[in-house]
């Protein structure tokens, strides 16, 4: 039996919008789960249903053997960290952390000890007497984390807690959250639309789209073995290059062909026997997804010669934009090679890492 079990969870808003459709999910104790998806995909709605802030239309939520579907938020023994921090401005840091404990009828000395302890863990001991308005965004979020830690809840929810922080702080608070999770071992559900956050934090990522789960898996699975075209397009910066092609084997080589504006175009994917999983699909139309980093500049001129249109150096890597299969594709090459727009280079594709999808259903082939 899973620690947290969502069974056919469903949310329909009064205006008829179907926000979450029959969501099934099992979470083990201590897992760090990230709900990832574009805005409006139902991830926040699901989180709010878990918190009890949104009424459940159908299905059930069972937490640690107890059905909490219709319980009030305070009866669920959960904690939450909000995007806006939601630390109470009229209370000091210590009062903010102690408020939930007071509501749990803890004795004063016990509260003081607990507050002191979590403040130490979160590195905010010096600010206990201050008001939130005297703290920076990062410090406020630490207060929110300390408050959530102090209640030792069964489930820790985080609703885009890093979105209001500036880019630099975001990374450091992200590391801090991961540290906290490793130490506390609290079962955590984290909602975000930022894939790098998701990949950095998650034990398992739940990719959501249109109120449904697209894929559940580890960062590796989600990135390299996408179940659906949506995930392939959503994950990755820049995302995978997509094209509907006809796959053929010509002279032992895998060739992806398509109709361009000025006649047929093709892309050589390498030797057919190097990627048997791909080769078995030869002869049919597929949707080809190629991540920018599995394309590299080849050594043999004459195969996949393309002209570079744009060069975007990023320091550690460089993004090239070129017309491949008559679409604008992105290619990621390591380092900062000496390339210029207008240059023609041969390209090689690591066929074992390309992903193919059914053009109709968008599911992985």
């Amino acid at each position: 039996m899973a620690y947290l079990n969502l069974d056919k969870l469903r949310k329909v808003y009064p205006n008829g919008t179907l926000a979450v459709q029959d969501m099934d999910l099992e979470i083990r104790q201590g897992e760090f789960i990230v709900f990832l998806g574009p805005s409006g995909c139902g991830k926040t709605t699901t989180l709010r249903m878990l918190a009890g802030l949104e009424q459940v239309t159908g299905g059930s939520i069972v937490l640690d053997g107890r059905d909490i579907t219709d319980l009030a938020p305070r009866e669920r023994n959960i904690s939450m960290i909000f995007q806006s921090y939601a630390v109470w401005p009229h209370m000091t840091v210590a009062e903010n952390i102690g408020y939930p404990l007071k509501l749990r009828k803890m004795k004063k000395p016990a509260i003081a000890a607990k507050v002191e302890h979590v403040a130490q863990v979160c590195g905010i001991t010096d600010y206990l007497g201050r008001y939130p308005s005297q703290l920076s965004g990062g410090q406020r979020q630490r207060v929110a984390v300390a408050r959530a830690l102090a209640v030792e809840s069964k489930l820790s929810l985080m609703d885009e807690p890093l979105s209001n922080l500036d880019a630099k702080l975001r990374v450091s608070v992200r590391t801090f959250l991961k540290e906290i999770h490793r130490e506390s071992g609290a079962t955590t559900i984290f909602v975000t639309h930022d894939q790098s956050e998701a990949m950095a934090l998650a034990d398992r990522i739940v990719v959501m789209n249109g109120g449904q789960i697209e894929q559940i898996g580890s960062t590796r699975d989600i990135y390299n073995r996408c179940d659906s075209l949506f995930t392939a397009q959503f994950m990755g910066t820049p995302p995978a290059n997509i094209k509907n092609v006809a796959l053929q084997i010509v002279g032992g080589r895998l060739i992806a062909g398509a109709e361009g504006k000025a006649g047929p175009v093709s892309l050589d994917l390498g030797r057919a026997d190097a990627a048997p999983d791909i080769a078995r699909l030869a002869g049919r139309g597929v949707c080809l997804a190629v991540r920018p980093e599995i394309i590299r500049i080849g050594s043999r001129a004459g195969i996949n010669d393309v002209t570079i249109d744009i060069v975007e150096p990023q320091g550690a890597y460089t993004i090239l934009v070129a017309r491949i299969l008559d679409s604008e594709w992105k290619v990621m090459v390591e380092g900062d090679p000496d390339l210029e727009p207008g240059l023609t280079v041969p390209l090689e594709v690591d066929a074992s890492r390309i992903m193919l999808f059914d053009p109709e259903s968008g599911r992985r082939l």
């Binding site: 009890g52 669920r76 909000f82 939601a86 109470w88 408020y99 509501l103 209640v151």
Partner: protein, 349 residues
């Protein structure tokens, strides 16, 4: 204030405007205050004094031919004869009623005997009983203390009713979406369009049926009508400014909805609550028209002052009453001014 650095010219204009505006506001109040301390005699004098006087420069002359005494008061460089009598009691009464000078008959007799020994006019100084108008207003005017209590009670009820009904309306308008919410909040202000009289007259019938006629509570019910709408508007804008996540956090961390309201929402909305109670207080405190209709034996202080104005031809006694009426509102406003400031600027929510 950076405009102050803009050179002598703009600085002069700034101060000129500032001083003019201050004088425009303060001079009438000062004059009003002076009137409230003026004796009947002073109230009729022209030109009127801008500052209250503490004593009179006076003279008493013995008229040997008619064996009586003439009281003269300084007017500019000259003296003006104001009263001629031979009777000590008559003079004492005149001192008290017209000059607010309290002198016993024996003291008057002393003055008379001194005047008799002095050839021509005997100069003297008559000390004014400074607060006599107020004393008269409180002790001699009938039921002032009771009226003051009525006013306070009516104001208290008005605040309570406005806050409970208006505050919850404001909260609902801020937090819940429902059909016709926008038009509802707009129509709320329509209530304020009705003049107090047009509300009081029909309401008086119901108030009588409820056996509440001539009570402060009945007044509060009428005062609260326009104030509920205003309170709803003021509080809803503040409630909207309080992030919903602050409330949700409280509920997740173990608070019931009531507990959340008491410990999170209300403390954060405190400036709005205080501002609304100020409006409610002032509306109740300043009204005399509704009180005129709705009360009989138990008038409010404002009504009492209003009646004094009507019955007296000299403005000093009503002025004293008006100052008495003014003081509680001033005190109340000063106590809560910090919260109001928080509401209109620099609110940290």
């Amino acid at each position: 204030m950076s405009g102050l650095k803009g050179g002598l010219w703009s600085r002069s204009v700034f101060w000129l405007v500032l001083v003019t505006v201050c004088l425009m506001v303060l001079l009438p109040i000062l004059y009003f205050l002076t009137i409230s301390f003026a004796s009947n005699y002073e109230a009729y004098q022209f030109p009127a004094k801008i500052l209250p006087t503490l004593s009179y420069r006076a003279g008493i002359r013995y008229n040997a031919d008619s064996d009586n005494y003439t009281l003269l008061l300084a007017k500019g460089a000259d003296y003006e004869a104001v009263k001629t009598t031979s009777d000590r009691m008559d003079m004492s009464m005149y001192f008290k009623s017209q000059l607010n000078v309290i002198l016993s008959e024996s003291s008057v007799a002393d003055l008379f005997s001194k005047a008799r020994q002095t050839p021509g006019m005997m100069e003297t100084r008559l000390r004014k009983n400074f607060f006599r108008n107020y004393v008269i207003f409180f002790i001699l005017a009938d039921g002032t203390m009771a009226a003051l209590m009525n006013s306070l009670e009516a104001a208290g009820w008005t605040i309570l009713i406005s806050l409970i009904l208006g505050g919850s309306t404001g909260y609902i308008l801020a937090r819940f979406r429902f059909r016709g919410r926008e038009s509802f909040s707009a129509t709320l202000l329509v209530v304020r369009m009705f003049p107090a009289v047009s509300l009081s007259l029909p309401l008086v019938i119901y108030i009588m049926k409820m056996n509440l006629y001539d009570t402060p509570l009945s007044l509060a019910i009428v005062y609260a009508v326009p104030n509920i709408a205003l309170t709803a508007w003021i509080t809803s804008s503040i409630f909207k400014g309080i992030s919903v996540e602050l409330e949700e956090a409280a509920m997740i961390f173990g608070a019931t909805r009531l507990r959340m309201l008491m410990t999170i929402t209300f403390p954060l909305a405190f400036p709005a609550i205080v501002a609304s109670s100020l409006y409610a207080f002032l509306a109740a405190w300043n009204d005399s028209i509704t009180a005129l209709i709705m009360t009989n034996e138990n008038p409010t202080l404002a009504l009492l002052v209003y009646r004094t104005v009507g019955s007296s031809t000299i403005p000093n006694l009503p002025a004293a009453g008006a100052v008495v009426l003014l003081i509680p509102s001033l005190v109340f406003t000063f106590i809560i001014k910090d919260y109001i400031k928080q509401l209109w600027g620099g609110a940290k929510i």
